[in-house]
Symmetry: C2
């Protein structure tokens, strides 16, 4: 371990850089706001000596691309992150989402003077853990972007040379599934070429330890509607006659899983690439947080019992995101619902193809006697067919996973451990899904370096990043740059 001393003057500067960026509204649905963020990034990146350009997209939400080339480099790292944010519901925030403030959690006392955080010259990093910076996108993912940039200044201050090329690709529409990214990656294949993509986004493991993610689950989203008639009918006059769409939907959903929580779709698990022995061993080293989570969220048993949360994250899921049919609560009335809707997401692990899984799902439904349609049936079809399911496929992309034994994985893990010691969480895959398969399709390994605290409230009100996590983020990128010579080293 070789932690550097951080002075409160430096801390103040780092915080100011993040605050200045977080001040700029970044609603992903407002392309002019996205452009303003992009222009701001270009300016500060150029100030740091990064050759930067704005890459236009058909959605009018530009990407920001930057290069810091090193004369003798043979390897290249590309840092991918995003600067757009989900819309804010201002009324729920303690302070304005675009007026970043430092506070203790659940306190409305502002910390006006960062110098006060530490009396002496040296910041007590542990003491920083009480303080959080509140603003939209400060956790997801502006802190990661700024950390990756100021770490370059830090490196320069220390007089250390980069041994690799570093490229930056900052997305302005990640919150709406990055609709322009795929075409851009194809169009600028050479420009974006690298040996390692760092995904600079996300939350660390719930234990709070520094975290390296070697993979991301893929996803398949779809919805299903069951149609038994054109109108809801009175349950007294037509009970036993009009088939109940809510009941039919319940039967269909119930058929999809076994009692033990495992998925009953034939072939669902067939192509899953199992974890290697070493991957399994690093999973077993990750601190167990299950009991803490159960206490915190009021959860009883796990859906699939007898396995750790980490094991469960490395299995695929089939999740019902929502069901709706008829009316409940005060709205309840004596009708037979003729329409039931359900939304699903499937989390895919390495080896699973979204389209193949979608076909397996359709087969499962058909095998139970349903007529499966991809459009809303006509009145004639409703009358002629006995059990009708309308299915609609939404997003879908596969999982990624970089081998633990690879040079790239070892380089990243070592860099993090060098600063923070052996207590680093290495996850073969995180539970969430990011469309990073796009890079993997270009044969580039992708590794995630989440830097935000687990309780950062991303996507909701009072989004925040803990100051100690932010400092750790900077130190992480600093170590990555400082050790970049090792990316050439194949002896790991």
């Amino acid at each position: 371990m070789s932690t550097e001393v951080v002075t409160n003057v430096k801390l103040k500067k780092w915080v100011e850089e993040l605050v200045d960026f977080a001040r700029i509204p970044n609603n992903v649905y407002d392309s002019s706001q996205i452009r303003e963020n992009a222009m701001y990034l270009k300016r500060i990146m150029e100030e740091k000596g990064i050759h930067t350009e704005i890459i236009e997209t058909p959605t009018n939400r530009p990407l920001v691309y930057g290069e810091m080339m090193s004369p003798n480099a043979t390897k290249t790292i590309l840092i991918y992150s995003h600067f757009d944010g989900v819309p804010v519901e201002t009324e729920n925030w303690i302070s304005d989402p675009y007026t970043p403030t430092i506070r203790e959690l659940l306190s409305d006392t502002l910390i006006e003077k960062l110098e006060d955080l530490s009396e002496g010259r040296e910041v007590d990093k542990k003491a920083l853990s009480k303080y959080r910076l509140f603003a939209r996108s400060i956790a997801d993912s502006k802190n990661s972007i700024i950390a990756s940039l100021v770490a370059l200044d830090y490196l320069r201050e220390k007089g250390i040379e980069l041994a690799v090329n570093v490229k930056f690709l900052f997305d302005g529409e990640e919150e709406v599934e990055s609709p322009s990214l795929k075409d851009c990656l194809n169009k600028y294949k050479e420009k974006f070429k690298s040996d390692l993509v760092i995904s600079a986004s996300g939350e660390t493991h719930q234990s709070g330890l520094p975290t390296v993610e070697l993979g991301f689950r893929g996803i398949l989203q779809f919805n299903i509607r069951v149609v038994t008639g054109l109108v809801d009918l009175h349950s007294g006059h037509f009970g036993n006659f009009l088939p109940n769409a809510a009941f039919q939907m319940a039967t269909l959903i119930a058929s999809m899983k076994h009692d033990n929580g495992m998925i009953a779709i034939k072939g669902f698990y067939d192509n899953v690439v199992p974890l290697s022995d070493t991957e399994r061993s690093i999973i077993n080293k990750i601190p167990r947080v299950e009991e803490e989570l159960k206490d915190r969220f009021g959860i009883s048993g796990a859906e699939i019992k007898g396995r750790s949360l980490q094991e469960l994250i490395h299995l695929p899921t089939l999740n019902v995101r929502g069901i709706s049919a008829g009316y409940v609560g005060d709205e309840a009335r004596n009708i037979i619902p003729s329409l039931a809707s359900a939304e699903f997401d499937v989390r895919l692990v390495k080896g699973m193809d979204p389209e193949h899984i979608y076909q397996l799902l359709k087969s499962h439904i058909m095998n139970q006697g349903w007529s499966v349609m991809e459009y809303f049936p006509t009145m004639q079809e409703i009358k002629d067919l006995d059990k009708i399911v309308v299915i609609e496929k939404k997003a879908g992309f596969p999982a990624t996973r970089t081998s633990l034994e690879s040079t790239t994985a070892q380089y990243v893990i070592r860099s993090v451990k060098e600063v923070f010691g052996e207590d680093v969480v290495v996850m073969p895959s995180e539970g969430g899904s990011l469309p990073l398969y796009l890079f993997e399709e270009l044969n580039t390994p992708v590794i995630g370096l989440p830097t935000s605290n687990y309780d950062c409230n991303q996507h909701t009100h009072n989004e925040n990043v803990r100051l100690d996590f932010y400092v750790r983020a900077i130190e992480t990128y600093y170590s990555l740059y400082r050790n970049s010579i090792n990316l050439n080293n194949t002896s790991y």
Copy 2:
């Protein structure tokens, strides 16, 4: 058959009596409106020679009670109906719900002069079928009330004497489950005593034929919530870990029915009183409307196949009125729902006790390993228990059914047939539920005489009654009064 000639002068008077009553707003949630209706009824009933009183209730929505005693009567008929209405959503009405207008269906042309409906002295009753009177509660049930009253005038005009006592009990809060009725019936047991209760409400059979209902299904309403945690969690980070409440609910609901639509709750059908051979034979005579209904509502197969709609109405039902969990449609998001709600109604037939059925349902759920609670669980309970169902019982009352062979049933059926011929639909029970068991508990048979057209839009916008149905209603009560001597005749 002995149909009387109706002059257009008489028709005009009848329509005016109904229109004047339908003009008075009657939102069941506005007790002053209910009182205004009650006072109006009292006045017109007294004008017709009925001794009338207002009976106060704890809910401030009075009942109206009237008596027309006959000197030598040994039997008494009580006519029960209601004059309150469900709230109106004015914007959906073609005309103001409390400004009754006569129009053809789907036309906005008013019929200003009723005289125009018939050029000659005699009204062509068949031609009346084109015209409908639109107003809130005109179908449910103001037309029945006015018909039962003006038929008394009609009888007097013809110089015919009543052979029985006739009592009227008009409820002002039927749309909110008649909360005061039970106590009133007990309090005024002697006053309300009768040999036959006529339920003057509802829609005739879909064939449009005059209809006599010898029974009503009972009902049991309850809701169920499945709780797997205190908050919804991210489906990527916690999939396979947080049990999905929507999934658990689906499994629970699916367990309640067999694939053939029959209910899988143990003991559910045990106490059902089967239809007698004669009841079965009158069911078989009822016109089959299944194909017409399927065309009209876009329905494929019946939930329980191979039986007529009439047979299905004489079986109990278990209906899911609604399900809700998580989010669907534009609101859909990647969460695991920790709460799922479902609303149910059970239609009970003769022999079934609502409380007993409720206990069977709870046993069914418990037998599948659920912890069944009647309150929302504490955080500790959610953590300690594996599968939690919160169940809440709502309304519940048993079915009624008067024997086809009884004097009362035969008297009513004969009275109707005398005017309209043999083509009368006699239903051992209708599909809907009315709390008429309260009368049956007083050992009084209850028979329903629905008078509104099947497409009357009761409870929704553009509620209407067809003019020919209204005239038929008056003729029905007229025949009932004229034949009242037969109620003493036990030789039917």
